[in-house]
Symmetry: C2
Subunit: 198 residues, 2 copies
């Protein structure tokens, strides 16, 4: 397997998903998002809602959530562990089909050493992301800020739990893009240029 | 002052300086490096060698070097503090002249809120940087690795001492570029594209 694949890791509200979709369209390659969820649902038997909620973030509640002290050995092989294994299998299968864009779900970690990756992290200032959530998804001001903060924390914790990658740390990527200052369109341009370099 | 200015912060051996120079050439704007050093020498009365060695890295020796516990109040206003003030003045003057590329010397921190910045961080895996130092500057293998490690530490410490920016941390930049995986030429392309976006 040596397809050139863009993996996009992104902060909620940064537009990383949109950037991935637009870049894939322009490059004429698939962007796996809904199809990925559907395949993981088939593979795991879990609902698409559960996968969307738990597939890349630690659970919302629980005393130990989001801390370094969370230890899976307390509860053995959990439903989340099963979901992780199913996601891993589906992402490896999809990557084997040829060039594509894979948004989120630890694609960068799962595919390392197994494909020719362009590993991208998209981020923006929290207040800009909250604004985007309000404008795009109609969230209230208070909810949007809380959602940004909580999601960041849960996603970072998920990466700590299942990977050896520190989420959002410069040196784990080929490219990090501040979509808040560069703009969505310029991020797409940069991504397409960097992908085509060979 | 609202010139569009590229500030490049870079790890030693990453090619960040070369990327800045090539991008400036292609954009038809000045890249301040040698001229900056000369002006700081005039402003401060210090030698160019001293400025090259101490203008963006903490000193090589000393028990407290590179730690969070270094406290300038122990020694009052040091020669390095004087150099910092001179560099700040020169960088602000140069930025006032129009669009340019400024490599290193905390340009990103000094110019924040004072110019229309494209803040870039260029990095690469330590072994690739050591290899570049060997090939470009004829360093021995052992020396090259040691120099990379030491310089990273001293530059990070300098940023901690004089700025509120954590050097190399994703969220302090508009763009971070892994020159080791992207290649020098592609980094120049990305930089020029992102600069022209307006």
């Amino acid at each position: 397997m040596d397809s050139r694949i863009i993996t996009i890791s992104r902060e909620i509200g940064s537009g990383g998903h949109t950037i991935g979709r637009l870049a894939a369209e322009r490059l004429g390659i698939p962007c796996y998002d809904q199809e990925l969820i559907e395949k993981v649902a088939q593979e795991s038997g879990l609902s698409q809602e559960y996968i969307l909620e738990k597939g890349e973030d630690t659970p919302r509640t629980g005393l130990l959530t989001g801390t370094l002290f969370y230890d899976r050995s307390y509860s053995g092989f959990s439903v989340q562990d099963m979901l992780w294994e199913a996601q891993k299998k589906v992402i490896l299968d999809l990557a084997g089909k040829g060039p594509s864009v894979i948004v989120g779900r630890c694609g960068d970690y799962i595919l390392q050493g197994k494909a020719d990756l362009l590993r991208v992290f998209v981020f923006a200032a929290p207040e800009l992301r909250a604004q985007r959530l309000r404008e795009t998804y109609g969230e209230s001001e208070k909810n949007a800020i809380r959602r940004v903060e909580e999601k960041d924390k849960r996603r970072r914790a998920f990466y700590r739990l299942y990977t050896d990658i520190e989420w959002g740390e410069t040196r784990n990527y080929d490219l990090t893009l501040n979509s808040g200052t560069l703009g969505i369109e310029e991020c797409v341009n940069i991504l397409c240029g960097a992908y085509r370099k060979e």
